[in-house]
Subunit: 362 residues, 4 copies
């Protein structure tokens, strides 16, 4: 179903922005994995509102609570339910949304599909829904750490509008990403991005950009042929995040400007292993990891909520002008970095378990 993801490490998220709570259940987690609320909280804090001056000031603590599946600090193989209650919900800030469809939001399409919608703060289409994903991914990372101790997932802001950072997926470090509030590991460009976002916000406008993600240390053999190719699953995972418009892996769209003789990754023996000399494949060939660094980019559009007057229609089918209120991110990218990381971890953990099920090893 639509709010479930994963074949063997299967998550189900629930919750609206202004309902009682958001959360997740994780089914199929291996037993005896150490996990605590504090570890989950660490990741939630990275996506939480109010963490810096360039994100929404909504004052949510997003304190998580594990309701099941963990006993004396370890997973026991049964579903792990994690819940975060909504605290700073101010539905009154969104009263105009009851009657108007916000441009480039999901108000109209939810109404068209279901004939009803929770209009408070975006409802199910709110980015608050990703809390469940990030919580589940904190568990997935612990599983991955046991399977492939060298595995590292590092996502970062590659560009904001036309400001593009130079980052090497082979060497970028999480500490450099977390060193600034925009989560771009190139410090000089990060400063420019922060200034740019502040300026855009002061204009009541918003801005988008690209997040790149590098995954190092994935053993060869994870992934599947045909429909569930690892890159296809990553593409789906990324495009399932709010505000995304594109995905590319390895050489991506730019790879179409090379000829085969330029683009192919020659094999060679290195350190006793089959390796590729270049990595235009982005670490995946035929849907299966080849041991090289997996790296991909995801495009995020400018935040749909802006503080300028916008033409729209209301639920009665009349022209209307919307002036947004409430608390919103002028740029989703800083908070989307841990979401990208989370979705990558979920896809990898699921495929690690699938691989072990069919082939007996990880």
């Amino acid at each position: 179903m639509s709010s479930q993801s994963g074949h063997s490490f299967r998550i189900s998220t629930f919750g609206e922005s202004h309902g009682g709570a958001v959360g997740v259940t994780v089914d199929g987690c291996p037993p005896r994995i150490e996990i605590s609320e504090a570890e989950i909280q660490r990741d939630l804090d990275r996506r939480r509102p109010g963490q810096s001056e360039i994100v929404t000031p909504r004052a949510e603590e997003d304190q998580c609570k594990i309701l099941s599946g963990v006993f004396e600090g370890k997973t026991i193989g049964t579903p792990i339910a994690v819940v975060v209650f909504n605290k700073d919900a101010r539905p009154e800030s969104y009263s105009e949304m009851e009657t108007m469809f916000r441009p480039s939001h999901a108000d109209y399409t939810y109404q068209a599909k279901y004939g009803i919608r929770n209009w408070q703060g975006g409802g199910r289409a709110s980015a608050r829904e990703t809390i469940g994903r990030v919580a589940a991914a904190a568990i997935a990372k612990k599983v991955l750490a046991q399977f492939a101790p060298a595995l590292e997932i590092v996502a970062y802001v590659k560009s904001v509008h036309s400001l593009v950072a130079e980052v090497d997926p082979e060497s970028v470090k999480l500490a450099d990403v977390e060193a600034n509030i925009v989560r771009c590991p190139e410090a000089v460009m990060a400063a420019k991005m922060i200034e740019f976002i502040k300026q855009v916000r002061s204009e009541g406008d918003s801005v988008g950009g690209v997040i790149e993600c590098a995954i190092r240390g994935v053993p060869p053999g994870w992934g599947e042929p045909v429909f569930d190719k690892l890159e296809a699953e990553l593409a789906k995972a990324m495009l399932s995040l709010p505000a995304t418009k594109g995905f590319e892996i390895g050489s991506g769209f730019a790879g179409t400007l090379q000829k085969g003789s330029e683009h192919n990754d020659a094999f060679e023996m290195r350190g006793g292993s089959v390796r590729t000399r270049t990595n235009r494949s982005g670490g995946i060939q035929g849907g299966i990891s080849n041991g090289e660094t997996i790296f991909f980019r995801t495009a995020f559009k400018p935040t749909a909520t802006i503080f300028q007057a916008q033409e729209t229609v209301n639920v009665s089918g009349e022209a209307a002008v919307l002036r947004a209120r409430g608390r919103h991110d002028p740029c989703v990218l800083p908070r989307a970095v841990p979401m990208v990381e989370a979705m990558a971890a979920l896809v990898l953990c699921d495929h690690a378990l699938r691989h072990r099920g069919q082939c007996g090893t990880v």
Copy 2:
């Protein structure tokens, strides 16, 4: 599982390039849909090798046979199995593949995953696997025609290397796509592309490009929130095709260069319906169709098989030089056009049935 796709209109493909046959079963198809082998064959002929001078000369007729699920010309609600027997298989043309890993192919990763592989002509990773998808999609299109008679899916070559066509997704016609062998509806650019592909082939090289797909006439309300967003499902479907490196919908990566005030699609009433004035969203908002034209682009890398000597390693872990033989496409795009169309039809048909199941209408 990996060779299955779809939740309600569910397909399972099977078959290797040089095994006995390739095919598909379709489970969950509505009953009483008229379908014939001839209709399926029409679509298979568009993806078949040997159809023009710029594609592989492998001489496969790819004659399909319906084995079940159809009675007196109509679907009966039970699984529809369609099979195409492999005829012009010449495994001897691929004997070097038994011992060598072809660069940027799936030989090494399949070996790493399974510890065994059918090395003849790419095995399961061959584009022959898509025969089953195209056959299933021919059925999906008949279902869609019943649900949304105005629905049209038109895919076409948008670019080959740096040759980019100007095409309007709102008005492009299938007849213009099929008017030339490269399947680019802009005739002048098509001629240039054809010349370019011939030249590349004469150099023993290969080339990639971008396929765009326009879907007109989708009613508002198809798709799902969260993980199975319509764009996420399309992204996965496209990235599951061989040789793909990227996907973008609507404004795509270029959308990151706009501010929210420029990017948002204002709503207006038009013809009695809620419509958007622009369509940067690409016809989908929050994972659900909004009634506008859905359009997206998929990047295909240059064909991995080239006729120049390439450095690689063999299965014993020794350096080796590969000189490809056999019959290959210098550019996959002309034959990938019907594959893109097919995957789009399968995703839409599945979501039409899912929508009807949950919400009662199509």
Copy 3:
């Protein structure tokens, strides 16, 4: 995954007996169905401990809370999460379970499978897990009421040990079932059953029996051929309940004592409809409902927890003697009646939606 059930109306339960909470999320529910916590509570109260003198005195209120998916009293098409916090948990009452495997319980097998277990009160194997099922089924019944207003599901105790009631599935009423604490609609036999259960409890022993379930008013056409036959899904649903040992539908095991000429259900026209003269098929033919009353029986073994000394082994592999403490049902049947009903409702609702998805009607 193991804690998920249903294809289109899909539920995920979570929770251990003595963890923080038990609950469920329902994904795929049709929108605009009226549902309240009070309606769910009504069904939960029927399965709750402490409701009568012949069930466990554990004092759980089992107050449910809807966390998502409902807005202004109606479903909105997104996942509905319902949670019940564990209140009267006394893990100290179960300390012997930390070291000993209780006979005919799941302690040993959970330990063998996972290498770890929540030994407090049965953990995930506790019947408390069914709270989520009953809550989800309360929603399923509301959906069914909209699809087939005449549909009625009535489960009841058919036998306790050798005390067998005579009940007509065609006419039995819920009010008669609820008229006594053992939930057997035949009053005289119910009184005997109650006396017998009390006596068995006074001996520190336990007892089982059979629950029959009648489903009237199912339209012809629900269900599926082959693997997901309606009777197969019902069998799985019933055998997924704790303490079950058998399932039979229509004529059941006794049907093997008839010849075909005696067993076949002749068709006839009645009230303008195709009807069967007898109903040995139990309302389902070839996996699909035929419009007759669906009825089936489920066998429940005697409660595994008894208050007599039992030989067993401990986790160190040494012989041990177990003397159970805590609060337990001497006979699970009275509280299992709403569980049977719930599982039947979930299976039917799922198949109603599946049928509508594929065939367009309900």
Copy 4:
């Protein structure tokens, strides 16, 4: 979907009785398992018509062909497609079925569900559909042999009508089952059953009975809690076979006549392992295997096709009299024995892979 089964070892069957072919694809099979058409054929021959004087004389060879997924005698991890073409199809023998609904068959319900049906020989509801299951199970058994070399699955006829054999599930041998044409390992009772079936056939009548299945050598830990309990999956698998009316495991319905103190299986150490002294649980506790012999019984109704005149209605809703022609089994049990065995093997293989995926061992 309805013609698919299994989570990790996933099969999709297709085919009608009188369409072009019946078959199966198996997705998720571990690689490097040796399998040949001859091995599959051996099992198909045990379910094939015409094999003895007490089954239908339909002269089908049921020759199988592997179309994919096997290379040089071994599985390669990709879908294995196996097909059997229908040869001795005589649709003219069934012409009365075009207009009449056969009592206790699926003609009416398929028509009610789909509004169309392949009326020739039962279509999808024919027992010919089980060919795909038996073929897939031949592969599953090879996988199981690698995982648990001591594992044995032995199914046998326990009763025909009121003729009940005494068989010990702990010691029954396949050779004894195959020693006679009714597949009852108790020779004296087998002879009586054969005589009885012949007599019933001579009367134009039919008869049912019970098949028991013993599975020895399953390691502790296979299966899952909650919905996919091993017994629940077996129940569904058995009730998905044509003509089944009931399922019971271990003590089954008779277990309801015992008290807890009589029914509980005391644990003891035996040969260094945790074992149960009795086995009323039937080898499964809480949904998970405990290492004891798994045994269960499935009730098969008398064959619905009889050669006596039967009252029914036709497709126009008029009373009619049906006189069956064609070739039919007077008793399905001898040919259902390999079907029961097959479904058991499929369930176990799926759960072995699921267990390995989540817990890392088999």
